[in-house]
Amino acid sequence: MAMAAGEIEQLIKAAIPDAEVTITDLAGDGDHYAARVVSRSFAGLNRIKQHQLVYAALGGRVGGELHALQLQTALPETEKAK
C-alpha cells in the first residue's frame, strides 16, 4: 500500500517537469504525506485545476494506494509578481 516519498516526487516531476516538489511524511508510515508543488504550469488555473494536475500526475494513486496526500500548490514567487 505504501509509497516512497521519492516515488511521489518522481511521478509529479515526470508530468510537471519544472515542478519544485517538497514531500513531508506526516505519520512516518509511508502512507500519509504532505506535498507542496510549485510550478509555472499552474499559472491561470484555479486551485481545483492546480490540484487536479497533480492528481493526474499521480495517475489515480491518490485516494487509492496513497490514502492521504495533503496538497498545497503554488506559483513560483517570480511568476506571482507578474
Binding site: I48, H51, Q52, G60, G64, A68, L71
Partner: protein, 110 residues
Amino acid sequence: MTDAATPDAQTRIADIVKGHDIVLFMKGTALFPQCGFSSRAIAILDRLGANYETVDVLQDPEIRQGIKEYSDWPTVPQLYVRGEFVGGSDIMMEMFESGELQQLLGADAG
C-alpha cells in the same frame, strides 16, 4: 452493472448538490467523522458558523464512487457551495486562512 457509478448515482448526486446551499460529502457524520480530513473540513465549517448538510459516503458505495467522477476529484471530503465544487479539505483550509471561504459562505452562514 459494474462498480463504476451508474447514471442514477450521478443524478442523485446532482440533486443533492443542487438541493442544498452548502453540502459536504464526507466519511462519517458531522458528530463522528471517520477520517482526519473530513474532521478538519467539519471543524472549518463549524468555526465559520456555517449552516451545512453532510452526506456520509461510507453509507452508500454508489455515492462514494460516484462523487469522485462527478467532480473529477479523487478524494473525500468534497465541499459544494450553491451547486459549485469548491474543493477538498486542503483547499478549504487555504481559503479559510485567506478569508475567501468566509466570503463564499457569507450569504449562507447562519
